[in-house]
Symmetry: C2
Subunit: 350 residues, 2 copies
């Protein structure tokens, strides 16, 4: 652990150890703690701190408040060769998501396409690792999740739609294509970070309480986050909200709870779809895909850009770099995590 | 037919009649002509002229040049209960797409989820009618298509990615949710229309030949169209390119041909996925969805907006209005269609 000014740099294995100790103190079985913490640390390694260890205090408080059961095992029902229904039993999200991937690896190989729906699970974290697992095994993987309503509809001003991410994993060499993106223009965490630093938001990120576009993060906190890409991003985010709610029989809009708060049961849903290209006769295309992605990477960049990136490339580079150099946490975040370990009895406070 | 200045207003049934006569003269069986023309007129009714009757001259030229076979019937292979492979046999796109929907309606009811891949079919037209058919029968429908490379990657400058649309249909009352959007910031047809009118493009629509953002439509024609929504829209469009190419074993990037030109076989692909909410236990969510969509519609609009729209709402209103008032074609477009009917021997010219 190296603290320099406002930043504390920690090697990933040490972060994992701390996370496991914290969750163990909160009555979490070791296996479950490991899966949960690895998912959090993965986000920090990839440069997505909003899905990283800074969420651990919320998880611990949710356990203390009885709305997250760290001992629960997801219940898997295979309703048909290509239909898997998972009840998270108010347990840790990554357990349910990895159970979905396990089942899909088997089911998509048999049926060509399979779907797993998840309800009642905690926050999954980044979707990337799940679709990456599917893609690494030769499958096309698609992940969709609902989340708390923070985004206004295009032409509207009230936060009624989740930041609903979509993830797509596609087999390719030397590593899969991995897209994992929220349908919001910015995350709530980034808005708060901008407010803390007194830094203006990019255009198009948010509206104020009257629905006017704003660059002021404080005004944005009174208003709502904008969908990315205007009406099209709105349509996509709303489509994800509806598909997930309908297929998992979970909440919509402001009824979605349980990933940001510390006292509500999870009412969001998650959907994964896996498709087997070889069963569909598409295996011959695999090599062309790799060549095509390389042709994008070496295509001339626009002025002001160094090179063209493929989704997943930067994530992979960040992971490698932080794996070697350690993860730089804001000192306050790391202090909070150390406190959590040292005062487990106070774990309920957030 | 009412011509006022540069616009000719025609009732939909008369447009259909003209379209059928044109295709009949180009050796198209009546049933096939009807399905193709209905799909084109539907786009004009919905206010999407880029997918409407203005494409008919290209179709006729493609038939004359032997790269589109108007008599071909798609060949359907049901490889597994949830896997349908369709070979369009270089025939009309809407025949293959409706065959996919027919099969999916049956297959998704049995398997819960099913996928249909299409290769070797002509341009499908708007995806909306296909996913709307699935949604009207109670299914979640997803449609993905590749198309000619007109879009540059985020941070790049060369057109290497299709305008790759995604469509999502979801059952709801009183009518389904229907999203049908390209992943490009603007269509090529709109860029050309702006160039004709000497009208500047909105910000973010295109780059010039050097990769610099431009509002000049003439410069855009020398450059490339931008993805909608920056890096996220780029990631989504690229994801669609890869998924469709891999699952249908069709072209990627600049290898995709056969929807805009008149002399190349179709090398694009199409994918439809249908999911049965009732089989997954999601039927109870249907009523909540309808209430949620209504809560969005009545939510307060942002300044400068009259109301909040749900994807599909405007399309439906436009269809109703033009169904009553007739379709307003640019006089030159309508004249070209009438010429096509009157000089079928010259149909090969475009």
């Amino acid at each position: 652990v190296v603290s320099t000014g406002p930043v504390t740099r920690v090697q990933a294995p040490e972060v994992v150890r701390l996370g496991i100790e914290v969750l163990r103190a909160a009555r979490t079985p070791l296996d479950n703690a490991l899966i949960q913490v690895q998912q959090l640390v993965e986000a920090d390694l990839c440069g997505r701190p909003s899905h990283g260890m800074q969420r651990l205090p919320t998880l611990v408080a949710r356990i203390a408040n009885g709305v997250l059961d760290p001992r629960a095992a997801p219940v898997v029902e295979v309703r048909a060769p290509s239909m898997i229904l998972i009840d998270g039993r108010s347990g840790l999200g990554p357990l349910a998501a990895h159970a979905a991937v396990d089942e899909l690896l088997r089911a998509a190989g048999e049926a060509g396409i399979a779907i797993a729906t998840i309800r009642g699970a905690g926050h999954l974290g980044m979707l990337a690792p799940y679709v990456e697992r599917l893609a690494s095994e030769g499958l096309v993987g698609i992940g969709l999740t609902t989340s708390e309503a923070l985004v206004h509809p295009a032409g509207g001003r009230v936060a009624l739609i989740g930041t609903n991410p979509i993830a797509i994993g596609i087999p390719a060499e030397p590593h899969p294509f991995v897209l994992d993106m929220s349908t919001a223009a910015i995350s709530a965490g980034e808005v708060m970070a901008h407010a803390d630093r007194g830094q203006p938001l990019r255009d198009g990120c948010a509206v104020d309480g009257e629905g006017r576009p704003t660059n002021d993060p404080a005004a944005a906190l009174e208003g709502a986050i904008s969908p990315f890409g205007g009406p099209k991003g709105y349509g996509l985010g709303l489509g994800i909200e509806l598909v997930v709610a309908l297929l998992t029989d979970t909440g919509v809009g402001t009824d979605v709870r349980g990933t940001l708060d510390t006292d509500r049961l999870s009412t969001k849903g998650d959907v994964f779809i896996a498709i087997h290209p070889d069963r569909l006769g598409g295996s011959a295309a695999g090599e062309r895909l790799t060549g095509y992605l390389d042709s994008l990477r070496i295509s001339p960049p626009a002025p002001g850009f160094e090179r063209v990136l493929i989704p997943g490339d930067r994530m992979r580079e960040e992971r490698r770099r932080r794996g070697a150099e350690g993860i730089a946490y804001p000192a306050a975040v790391w202090r909070r995590l150390v406190e959590l370990r040292e005062q487990p009895q106070g774990a309920g406070r957030v």
